[in-house]
């Protein structure tokens, strides 16, 4: 499946958002997620099916003013 992860194209074999996070090194990390611009809570990641062409954002705490 081809996806956009944080703006970069990737090709992975996963079915859910939770699977994608594990596959891409985010296991156990403090992150927030969105799919196609819509926030997906942590509790909904395992049930969030991904489709070819989806755009996924994975955000973490960062410096800010």
């Amino acid at each position: 499946m081809k996806l956009q992860l944080n703006g970069a194209p990737i090709e992975v074999q996963v079915t859910t958002l939770a699977d994608l996070l594990d596959a891409e090194g985010f296991g156990g990390a403090k992150v927030a997620t969105a799919v196609n611009g819509a926030f997906v809570p942590a509790t909904a990641r395992a049930g969030q099916q991904l489709s070819d062409g989806d755009s996924v954002e994975v955000l973490a705490p960062m410096q800010g003013g």
């Binding site: 985010f26 969105a34 994975v58 973490a60």
Partner: protein
């Protein structure tokens, strides 16, 4: 000091966490100043570097209140989604709501700001809106459910100070019971003291500290100035007058001509 959504702060300094030379300097700035709130953001994380995880541990170790922002958001949808993501990650209802309307000044889009504030307060957020000193906009934000207002002093990162003293003084007078925070644009501690003397409740700044030659010392200087300004306001300053008035008693002066 007025409370912020029921939270009393130990001092009136809210300090940003961006642009410091190193994490150690950032931590020292908080330690030296006693800043009570740290502003933070959300940005894309790398599964390899996981840089955000170390940063989050650093912030947690500061032991201060965390105020996530929606910096860089230009639309209501973007700001609302970012706020939801921040609430989950930082486990706080607080959100520093920024909806940017113009790139040169980073002036807030006050129309989008009011709409986003209404959506977020209805969803249980405690919104700290980055706004202008416009009284009508301020009133709309209060009607939308905001219990704190954060007018700019000057454009973000400019260091120009309090660009519109008249407008800020009018805002303080018009909303005597609303916690007001000067957010952005300050460059020097004297400007922070001036804002507190006007009766503002706190100062939010970042660049003036982070870009100083000695950020920790500058953070301490701001904290001291904020405290001085706050005391001066509480002490009820004298009214200025145009003509001189001798302070030394005239009666009893020797005749020596």
């Amino acid at each position: 000091m007025r409370d912020f959504y029921g939270t009393e702060l130990s001092n009136g300094l809210m300090l940003g966490t961006a642009q410091y030379p190193s994490p150690a300097v950032l931590a020292d700035a908080f330690k030296r100043s006693g800043a009570s709130v740290a502003t933070v953001s959300l940005r894309r994380e790398s599964g390899q570097d996981r840089a955000g995880q170390d940063f989050w541990q650093l912030i947690r170790d500061l032991g201060v209140h965390v105020l996530p922002n929606t910096a860089g958001c230009h639309s209501v949808k973007e700001a609302v989604s970012t706020a939801h993501m921040a609430r989950e990650v930082f486990a706080t209802k607080w959100i520093k709501l920024e909806v940017i309307g113009e790139e040169d000044t980073l002036q807030p889009d006050v129309f989008g700001l009011v709409e986003a504030a209404r959506i977020l307060t209805e969803d249980g957020f405690q919104v700290f809106p980055y706004t202008t000193e416009d009284l009508v906009v301020a009133d709309k934000l209060l009607q939308a459910g905001c219990e704190v207002l954060m007018p700019w002093g000057a454009p973000i990162g400019s260091g120009l100070g309090l660009n519109n003293i008249f407008g800020l003084r009018a805002m303080r007078a018009h909303f005597p019971d609303v916690p007001l925070v000067i957010d952005a644009g300050l460059g020097l501690p004297s400007q922070a003291a001036a804002a507190m003397e006007l009766g503002f409740d706190a100062i939010l700044l970042n660049t003036a500290v982070a870009k100083a030659g000695d950020p920790a010392l500058m953070a301490q200087a701001f904290a001291t100035a904020i405290s001085a300004g706050q005391m001066a306001h509480a002490a009820d300053p004298m009214e200025p007058r145009d003509m001189a008035a001798p302070s030394t008693p005239v009666i009893g002066k020797a005749f020596l001509e």
